[in-house]
Symmetry: C2
Subunit: 349 residues, 2 copies
DNA sequence: TGTTAGCACTCGTTTTGATGGAGTGCTAAT
DNA sequence: ATTAGCACTCCATCAAAACGAGTGCTAACA
């Protein structure tokens, strides 16, 4: 619907304004456009058109007697309709050489860092959620009196562990039995598939030690629950200082604080992880994102999939006047680097 | 030696200057001191004394016709000789209510956060090193074809795990045997105590599967090696903005970047973890710390001991003009809260 | 001899005013 | 419908001026 309220000429002018503003960061005036486009119109005509565009809400004037800059609506229009037109060369982009390390956390931290240094924006990478990830192996070990160690491995070789306190001592045979019961019942299931029936069956089989099973299951769900555990790796937060519109002390400080409060970031990103099964790229302009402090920023995110069902998000945060094309390209490339990396043979990618 | 080059009056004046500057953050002039102290001296006399103090290097003038501010040497003198004099009330300090969570990492992140909000400085907490920590339990599990899971538990219930790739399949009996060998040989040893003799004995016992033992040992040392794994939790980095002398874009940005590069912070803190067995509090003023970017800051650190041999560092970074007394008090209290927390009964502390 | 009052001087900060330029909106001519 | 022209607005920049805090020095004082 939006696109019909703009005729061809207005679209061209808007495009020119936005592209120009992305480049320079300065409000752009009618005279500039008059020369920039192939429309061969005088600045006066452009002025008239610009007045219209402003009335329609695509551009705004920081103050009288200044040029125009894109509004959120303008950016949105650009991202949705104007941007894709241009084919761009990916070869200029630095490659993502991600060392295939054992530690997922290192991997992700690294990814965040590279993305930040490539784009010059602040970046975040959320650790994968266990959504839909299958249990592969469970092991209980009697470590110490009163303490059992539960180790859980899922597809994609994500490992979690927790110490569970128990009251009495437990003999080896019981441990063995519990392990067998747990593994035979739960292996191959996703967390969502463990229902009351499964639990009842488990407890029955465990007999006298059903309390331990209970503990284990609690642990399981606690572990896999996202809230508790969505880790977010960030990098390049000081990049905010590179953009005058964000670099005044107050704003930058708020933004960096938000990045320190990883939990907030997680929430921003989680919705799109759940809502959307598509692996597309999401763009939030200004207030479109749910985080107040980012009202002067744009957020671009993508979902990666380390292994089957092991999905997380990568994202960048920068000024609204960001190089959307470059950012989206970078995200795509990084996403591809990460996708399925856990299942790939060891070594460099 | 230093203290002998200052007579009583100079000491008093220096003290007054520093205390005043700590409060206000403004260069302090002779007139202020003339009224502040009980010395009942005119500003002119103070001026003479100040000229002397400047020549001795305890104070400096930001520019002609400004008051004086303490030099690094001045701060050092204050911290070493002047500060302790005053007894302060701890009751004003907010308590550290640390929830005793299972996850050490949450615990430490929380500690950093509370410390930051208490002091209004940037804080860091390093995860404990394994220095001197004893192995308690090792378990190898055959998870998948070609993959063994190694789980290692140390005193203090720190758990580490790693997936080890193996070439051929391994039967249950072998696994059992390996586990017994590993545990019986290594339990109770610290990492440092595992020497070539131990290793040779292990491999011999393992027989045909000595390669796996080798892998496990590699993993062990890799895991416990500090370099690889000193995690640093930080908080309150945006507090730098609260102090004008640090809040200009350039400096603040550098500092925050340093806090993002956790590894650098780790190095700052590690030395004192190793060098010193005392549990005292370390103060680094300006260039006394090894990190260039912190030349305009003071760093105060303390060592905590979660469990026996499980030691890490807590520290705060702020302007040289920081409230040393408050900071040191806070560190002491936090240190006490953390000390031995792993061995304490579960629940609130 | 140590202390103090007084004064000239320095230097950073803040205020003020002037100037210039970029850009607009409107009107009248094409 | 388009354009040229013009008056007007507003911001940014710069320099000068006014200000104020604080010093160093000298000469007087106890």
């Amino acid at each position: 619907m939006d696109e019909f309220e703009l005729d061809d000429r207005k679209t061209k002018i808007l495009n020119a304004i936005i592209r120009n503003y992305l480049k320079t960061g300065e409000p752009v005036g009618s005279r500039t456009i008059s020369k920039y486009t192939d429309l061969n119109l005088s600045s006066a005509t452009i002025r008239n058109e610009m007045a219209d565009l402003e009335e329609l809400g695509y551009i705004v004037q920081p103050h009288t007697s200044a040029g125009r800059i894109p509004s959120d609506k303008g950016y949105r229009f650009y991202v949705d309709h104007l941007m894709a037109e241009k084919d761009r060369e990916v070869d200029e982009m630095k490659q993502f050489v991600i060392e295939h390390t054992e530690k997922v956390e290192h991997l992700l931290q690294q990814a965040a860092k590279i993305l930040a240094s490539n784009t010059n924006y602040a970046t975040m990478v959320t650790a994968p959620s266990y959504q839909g990830n299958k249990l592969k192996f469970i092991q209980l070990s009697y470590v110490d009196e009163g303490q059992i160690l539960a180790v859980i491995v899922t597809d994609g070789n994500l490992v979690k562990n927790k110490i569970i306190p128990v009251s009495g001592p437990i003999d080896n045979e019981t441990m063995l039995k519990l392990n067998i019961v747990l593994n035979s019942t739960l292996n191959g299931l996703t967390l969502e598939e463990i229902n009351l029936g499964t639990i009842a069956r488990l407890k029955e089989q465990a007999g006298i030690h059903s309390d331990i099973i209970g503990e284990v299951l609690d642990t399981l769900s606690q572990m896999m629950l996202q809230e508790d555990d969505i880790r977010v790796y960030t990098s390049g937060t000081t990049n905010f200082f590179k953009y005058p519109e964000l670099s005044d002390t107050g704003k930058a400080s708020e933004l960096i604080s938000t990045f320190e409060e990883k939990q907030q970031l997680a929430s921003l990103v989680t919705e799109n992880l759940l809502d959307e099964n598509s692996t597309g790229i999401q763009v939030y302009i200004g207030n479109e994102s749910s985080i107040q402090t980012m009202k002067d920023c744009s957020v671009v995110t993508a979902v990666y999939e380390l292994g089957e069902g092991v999905r997380g998000t990568i994202g960048i945060v920068g000024p609204k006047r960001m190089d959307y094309e470059k950012v989206m390209d970078n995200l795509k490339v990084l996403k591809n680097s990460l996708d399925g990396i856990l299942n790939k043979p060891k070594g460099k990618t």
